[in-house]
Structures are given as C-alpha cells and as structure tokens.
C-alpha cells in the first residue's frame, strides 16, 4: 500500500463498527477480502458485469468491485458471512442445495445476494422475471436451471406461508 492518499474510514461491517486505514482506490471487495478477511465475497470481472462480488450496502445489493471502500464510510456493509443467521438466506441455501444450484460455488455468494433481493422485493416474480433479475449474475459451470428452480422454491414457500390466515399463523407461533 502506498502512503500517498491513505485515509481512515469508519463503517459497519456485518453489524460491527470498524475503523480501517484504506487507500481511496481500494474497492470495498478488496477491502473486505484483504483487510477484513471476509473472503466469501468473490471477485470476478472487476467491471461490474459478472455479479460475483455482490454484497449489501445500506440494505441493498451493490457491486463491491466498482464501489470504493472509502465511499462506504458511514455505511453498513453486509457480506455473505453476515447472513449466517438470516432465515431467508438459510432457506435459500437449503433450496440451492436441494436444486443443485451450485457446482464450483464461485458465483454462489453473489447469486444468493441477488436471490434474496428477488424473493424479498419481488414476491410475485414468475420464472421469466427471475431470469431477468438474474441477468446480472453470471454462472459459468452449473447453468441457470437449478438456480432459477431454487429461487422458485423459496418464492413459492414464502407465498404459501403468506397465504396462511393470520389466526392459524398465531396458533402455530
């Protein structure tokens, strides 16, 4: 790291406030991997196309390879590691396993980020919409059939749960 422009930034990473010295040119992807040892975020194309590096910044999916860490000062960043206890993410993980939605796993953290965005933001998405929303995440080995099926499975399950009358829901709670 050259010393020229180093600045100290404070941000929240997976619910913990951290202060780190960064070069402005450091992407938040490199910052997470090299300085926070959070290697679940994978780097693919480094030009915002492949989606492997997708993380959440302030609650929404963001490309971490083309977003400087310094521009996330004051923001809350959440990586795939930060979703260990997230019910929706765990449901997606189980569905990815059941539907064989991964082989090498390189695209998977980014796929899961996008998948979680789809099932929470677009509860009525059909398969065509799921594929459209997935167009920003490239998978080069598994193919998309299993991934779409996994997302479909979670969408359907969430829809079925939403359809349960409130009284019945309360009774089982």
């Amino acid at each position: 790291m050259s010393d020229a422009f180093i600045m100290t930034i404070e941000l929240v990473v997976n619910q913990a406030t951290v202060a780190e010295r960064v070069e402005p040119r450091t992407s938040v992807a490199d910052f997470l991997r090299d300085q926070r040892m959070l290697c679940g975020t994978n780097i693919g194309c480094e030009q915002g196309v492949c989606g492997a590096c997708t993380i959440e910044v302030d609650g929404v999916p963001t490309r971490s390879c083309i977003t400087p860490a310094i521009s996330c000062a004051g923001s809350a960043v959440r990586t795939i590691e930060g979703f260990d206890d997230d019910a929706t993410m765990n449901e997606l993980r189980a569905a990815f396993t059941a539907e064989h939605a991964l082989q090498c796993g390189y695209c998977t953290p980014g796929m899961l980020m996008t998948a979680r965005d789809i099932v929470t933001r677009l509860p009525n998405a059909d398969d065509a919409r799921v594929r459209l929303e997935l167009s920003g995440n490239l998978c080069r080995c598994t193919g998309y059939v299993g991934i779409v099926r996994a997302i479909r499975r979670v969408l359907d399950a969430r829809r079925a749960r939403a359809a349960v009358p409130l009284a019945a829901d309360a009774a089982t709670a």
């Binding site: 402005p24 480094e46 915002g48 910044v57 400087p68 310094i70 521009s71 980020m113 459209l132």
Partner: protein, 278 residues
C-alpha cells in the same frame, strides 16, 4: 485490474466540491455512484488524480415540480426511479427505462446525473432526456447555467460540461395526461449497453411528437416532428430510412438493420395503442 491511485473527498456542498476540483487542472473528477467511472478506472481507461464524491450533497437529491416543469436532482438513483419513489411526470416512461438499466445492484448505486455526465451514447438516460427535450442544470465556479438538450452532448463520452462544473439536475416539461410514449432497446443480453435505442413521445395536447434514434456512436439523433413516422408512413417505406441516413447510419450495414428494427418497432408500439394512453 485495480484503479490507479487517487485522492478522495466527499464534500457537503457544491461550491466546496467545485473548489476541490478546480485546482486539479482537469485531473480531478466528480463522481456519484461510480458505476460507469468505477469500471473505467479499474480498466485504467480513466486515471483521475482526484475523485470528489457528490453523494454527500443533499441538494443534488432534490426533486420538485413547478407548474408543468419537473426538476430531478442529479444524484437520484436508477432504482429510486424504477421503484416510483420519484414523481417524474413522464407517465411511466422513466420508470420503464430505469428498470432496464444494467442490473439491480448497479441501479441501486448508479445515478441519473452520473449517467448523463458520462454520456455513453448507448446509455438509456442520455437518449430519454433527448426525447423529453430536457434542459441540463449546471453549476460551476462562476455560477449556474442551463444547457439545452441539443447542446449537451458533443460526441461519445463528451459533454458541454467544463471539468469544474457539476450537473445538478435536469428539467423538462411533464407529459400531459393523454401523452403516449414508446421505448425500444435492442441488446443481446438484458442489462448490456444497447446496440440500438428508439424513443417516441407523442403528446398531441402539447403539440409534441418527437422521436430519438440512439446508441449511434454520436449524440442522440432527435426527430423533432415524428408525426410522419407514426401516422403517415408505412413502416415498410423509405421514410424511416431517410431518418436513419440523416442520423449517419450507413445503409445496408448491420447497424442499419438493428436501428431500423428498433425505430419501426417503437413506432409500432405507439400505433398499436389505438389512441389509448399507455
């Protein structure tokens, strides 16, 4: 690849931002979402010595309507427009265009003003704003000025903006309740930059019938009076070809084919609305 080293600041006001960039002799750049500049810097196609991040300036997110005029702040994100969080007054045109820009993760951070200042001819907003005949609101060391739609873009990735000027927003006339629009974009994969874009705005109540041929390695080609394409000309006639030729697209080329298809289909969408607003 990784971006070359640069200095960084995130000021809270435009004059502060201008004061930071002015002394850099053109080597400083304003940035908001960095979703276009970021890739170019990673590829080292752009190597600014300083980035001044405009996202801390609340005034650049301000949107307002004044009578028939709509003003949108430059730092509004594509996702905010897509989700209908901003009143655009375009009867769904901008909301429709927004959902087709790149991918959701990019739309969450990329901004209207950033895309317009980047001025990629194949991008969506530069062509949409041309169709809306929008004015560009700019502020610089000597104060604010307004740049007319046709004066904004000088060529691919080149605007009328001086290096120490900030695009603060755009202003256009809201579409009337009976206005119709169509937007046809051709790309091989959703989210890619377009190979061809065609836009129609048919707002008879305001005496506007305008079309744009976009994604042509040059500023958008505006057809100020597109009534002939919508009402008179058969899509099979040379009327369409005359405009494509005037836009500088070589007859018989692949580009001519895709631009022609985009223009004919965009016109067809309006024709098929049978007088009903979209």
């Amino acid at each position: 690849m990784k971006a070359a080293a640069y200095d960084y600041a995130r000021p809270l006001a435009c004059d502060e931002a201008i004061a930071l960039v002015a002394p850099t002799g053109g080597m400083g750049k304003f940035v908001s979402g960095s979703q276009s500049l970021g890739p170019m810097m990673n590829l080292r196609l752009a190597q600014p010595e300083m980035l001044v991040d405009l996202r801390g300036i609340a005034a650049l997110r301000a949107c307002r309507t004044e009578g028939e005029a709509v003003e949108l702040g430059a730092c509004i994100t594509h996702a905010e427009i897509e989700d209908g969080k901003i009143e655009t007054g375009t009867r769904g045109l901008m909301e429709y265009v927004a959902q087709g820009i790149a991918y959701r993760a990019v739309r969450n951070r990329g901004t209207l003003g950033g895309s317009l200042a980047h001025a990629d001819p194949a991008a969506d907003w530069i062509n949409t704003m041309c169709a809306l005949n929008a004015q560009y609101l700019v502020t610089g060391p000597t104060g604010a000025r307004v740049i007319e739609s046709g004066e904004w873009m000088a060529g691919a990735f080149t605007t009328a903006l001086e290096p120490d000027e900030i695009l603060t927003g755009v202003r256009f006339t809201r579409l009337s309740p009976t206005a119709r629009w169509s937007y046809y974009k051709f790309n091989r994969k959703p989210g890619e930059f377009a190979e061809a874009i065609a836009v129609f705005i048919d707002d008879a109540a305001r005496g506007v019938c305008r079309a744009v041929i976009g994604a042509i390695d040059a500023p958008p080609y505006a057809i100020d009076d597109a009534r002939g394409l919508l009402h008179d000309a058969d899509p099979g006639t040379s009327c369409f070809d005359a405009h494509l030729e005037a836009a500088g697209i070589e007859a018989g080329s692949y580009e001519h084919e895709v631009h022609r298809v985009a223009l004919v289909r965009a016109a067809g969408i309006i024709r098929n609305q049978n007088g009903n607003a979209s």
